[in-house]
Each structure stands twice: as structure tokens, then as C-alpha cells.
Subunit: 117 residues, 2 copies
DNA sequence: GTTAATATATTCCATAGCGATATATTGTGC
DNA sequence: GCACAATATATCGCTATGGAATATATTAAC
């Protein structure tokens, strides 16, 4: 199933939702970058895909802002991974971003005339 | 009502939805740039706002791609306005973008754990 | 021993949003 | 008659950033 130019729309939309998606995924438990990218791909059924060149710099930005907190975990028989967990500050931001997303999605649905999206 | 950092989310998200919103607004009848920007602001209740430096170049792009068709209208007692109407090609793109938006919004809702957004 | 999958990382380029600014016209209040 | 706000279109220049390409390292599979 391939929509005409749908990839353009998705590419652009993805940008704004990236933070919300990442924060949401590390809400329940710490996760590492690769896991996050794979989760987004699977759960969105391909509608959202992250380029590593976007994902990792974004994780650094979120950490620098104090919204997530990363620490290296070394395990025998595994590559070292950096697990990120949500900080209290990040939890507040996540709540705000959820509200922002809902307001935005509602507005787009209203204007674009999309019923029960 | 001001959400923490919500402007960041909105700024980014806007990019991807801009085309969808504009195409939707010129679907029913031709409209000019200023009218489009005001309509988006009003109908979104402030959740989406267009900077003129984004709006006009975007209109030119859409026209260049053949999705909308603009023509100048001069009226006594009014500044000249450029009215844009949706082309048949634009109509197809709009339908595809609506589907793309729905798929995207559904994916974000699923991942971000937003209920009935 | 070669390939694929996992996992993190960076460089470079093109795109594009937006603040600032400009121009022109019409309507309103004083 | 004049200042000001609203309408309407337009562009310059800065900056952010997304993504292709590429690199490195480890483990599993064949």
C-alpha cells in the first residue's frame, strides 16, 4: 500500500512528533536507541520510520535538556547499550506534549475535514 | 492557554501538515493567501499559526507543482488578491494526504498512548 | 570466513521555517 | 487631514535539522 506523496507528508510530520514518541516509549521503562527506533517502526506499522542520523542526535538533545537520562549498560554476549529513562522533568514535558499533540491533531482534523480520525 | 514548549511541537508538526491544510481550504472554493492564514488561525483556535514568510512561498510551491492554480483578482475598493483554486491533480494529492495524515495520527496515538484523540 | 542483524556514531548537504522588514491599500477614530 | 490598525502580498537572511551516506564494533548464523 503506497500513497502518492504520502512519504513526503510523513517525513515532515515525523519531525514534530519525534520527541513525543521517544518520551512516550521511555515512560514505562528505560530503553536504548536501537530498541526505540525498532519499536516506532513496528508499532506505527511503517507509518513512521527514524533515520539513525536523526534518532541519536535527538536522544542527545533530550538528554542535554534533562528530559531523559542515559547510562551505559554492558552485558556479556551483548554490545554495550545506552539505556535512557524518563526524568521527572521529562515526565512534565511528556504530559505537555501529549496535550499539545491532541490539540494539534484536533485542529488539523477540524480544518482538513477528517472525520473521526 | 499556553503549554510548556508546546510551540516547539507545533512549529515542527506544522511543517508536515501545512500542505494538507491549505489544500483542504481551497477544496470547496478559491481562496487568497491572507484568507487562508486567517482561516487556519481561527479554526485551529490558535493551535496552528502560519508565518507569512512560510505561507506565501508554500503557495508558490504548490502552484508550481500544479496542485493549485492562482489568478489575480482586482476589485474596486480592495487590494488585489491572488485566489488559488484546487486543480484535478491537487484533488488527488489531497485525498492521498488525508489518508497519510490519518495513518500517521493513528500511529502516533498508538505509540504515545493517547486515547481517543 | 562471510554475511546479516544489532547498536551507536558522525559528516555533509539541502530544505525550509520564521523573525524582521518592506510595500501598498482601505477603514476608523480623533 | 492624519495617525493607526487591519488587510494583503512579498523577500532576505539566519538557523535548525532531517536524512543519505558512511563508519565502527559486536554477535549470531550459515
Amino acid at each position: 500500500m503506497e500513497y502518492i506523496n504520502s512519504h513526503i507528508l510523513e517525513r515532515e510530520l515525523k519531525k514534530g512528533s519525534a520527541e513525543l514518541l521517544i518520551l512516550s516509549l521511555v515512560e514505562s521503562r528505560p530503553r536504548h536507541g536501537y530498541e526505540i527506533s525498532k519499536l516506532i517502526e513496528r508499532r506505527s506499522e511503517g507509518a513512521v520510520r527514524f533515520n539513525v542520523a536523526s534518532l541519536y542526535p535527538l536522544l542527545y538533545r533530550l538528554e542535554k535538556r534533562g528530559w531523559i537520562d542515559g547510562r551505559w549498560v554492558e552485558k556479556a554476549g551483548q554490545r554495550r547499550r545506552r539505556y535512557y529513562r524518563l526524568t521527572p522533568e521529562g515526565r512534565k514535558i511528556l504530559a505537555a506534549q501529549r496535550r499539545g499533540w491532541q490539540a494539534f491533531a484536533a485542529a488539523v482534523n477540524r480544518i482538513a475535514g477528517v472525520e473521526h480520525a
